[in-house]
Amino acid sequence: MEIAKNLMIILLTGILTENFVLSKFLGICPFLGVSKKLDSSIGMGAAVTFVMVCASLVTYPIYYGILVPLGIEYMNTIAFILVIAVFVQLVEMVLKKYMPPLYKSLGVYLPLITTNCAVLGVTLLNLTKDYDLLESVVNSFGAGLGFMIAMIIFSGVRSRLERCDIPKALQGAPITLMAASIVSLAFIGFGGVVDGIFGG
């Protein structure tokens, strides 16, 4: 019961209070670049969640099984980014060969993910927080879901923005960033929610 509670706390913290995009600023480029339409937001969110979970599953044994025994923990950035790059490539090939429908819906987002700081970020965060394997996976899943929710909310905001009359200097990136600021402000409202639910 204690474990389940702990995992729920990690999950909800990742989704709401420490939302990756809106409070940690990871994965801003895809957040702003691909959030124009609802469908692409969902696709990108699903792809990121999937890769994050797999990346934390893969990097955990590499860190504790190879880097720590050899005493070369400082190599983690290089090792992780290589593993993530290779892994994304592999997933793309496997999906293309064996699951064409899934590839059709997620395929285009996969290459975008290699250089997405959210994926490398979540694996590094798992290390700094000393999560075990299960906690890492749950944390990654929460972070991915949080990313997806932020993308979905923001795509709604943007579809309204497109029909607005915006001052010329603010058109394009500035108004998008300002809208993101207001969405982020809304997420501050979740502060304390997790503690409130679990009485922690």
Binding site: K24, I78, I81, L124, T176
Partner: protein
């Protein structure tokens, strides 16, 4: 003369984050204080210059098909180097930048310059390009950091500048303030340079060519379904 041009273009005309809209994550994340901006900016500049040198030297050796992974590994190597140096000699900056220091690896400015410039040019212009872009990036970080620090905590580089009766607006150092200040800064730059406003996306992202999967492709795919 042309080398000087490669240097100056990065400062304002092609400023990587105010004009090209690249490298947004660090621009937003670590700019709660101006000093962080300097630390992050200079670390990124160092990595950018070093990786530009190595990539422009190796441009004939690296096979075209695996160039992106190769670039990433080169960049990650220098990032590890910088973070070890900072950890030893500037532990304050190291701990305040934290995870974002490692994330320089996936900063799209660095990969973008490698792909767009260093892989096509000789060493000296690549160094100048890296320096210019890096300092342009530092400039933006310090600018955004200063605005946020002055309004958010009433200080500038740790020195109190706001009179005491003005309550600091904590909002500015919260994430929401980061988005807002960056948006405002880009708007001012657009206005001053009388530039056509840019949208974040592939059609004006200089990395689009090198980026194996374009955001636009993703956007249009979403539209079809």
């Amino acid at each position: 003369m042309s080398n000087l041009k490669e240097f100056t273009k990065g400062l304002i005309k092609e400023n990587p984050n105010m004009v090209m809209l690249l490298g947004m994550c660090p621009t937003l994340a670590i700019t709660t204080m101006a000093a962080n901006g300097v630390g992050m900016g200079l670390s990124t500049t160092f990595v950018l210059v070093c990786s530009n040198i190595v990539i422009s030297l190796l441009k004939k050796v690296i096979p075209d098909t695996v160039r992106l992974p190769a670039y990433i590994v080169i960049v990650a190597g220098f990032v590890t180097f910088v973070s070890l140096i900072l950890q030893a000699f500037a532990p304050d900056i190291y701990s305040s930048l934290g995870m974002y220091l490692s994330l320089i690896t996936v900063n799209c400015i660095i990969l973008g310059r490698a792909e767009m410039f260093a892989s096509k040019n000789k060493v000296i212009p690549s160094i100048m390009d890296g320096l210019g872009m890096g300092l342009g990036f530092t400039l933006t970080l310090v600018l955004v950091g200063s605005v946020r620090e002055i309004f958010g905590s009433g200080q500038w580089f740790g020195i109190t500048v706001m009179p005491e009766f003005i309550e600091p607006m904590t909002l500015f150092i919260l994430p929401a303030g980061g988005f807002f200040v960056l948006g405002a800064v880009i708007a001012v730059v657009n206005r001053l340079m009388k530039k056509k406003p840019r949208e974040i996306g592939c059609h004006n992202c200089p990395n689009a060519e090198g980026c194996p999967g374009a955001c636009d492709k993703a956007n249009s795919n979403g539209g079809e379904q």
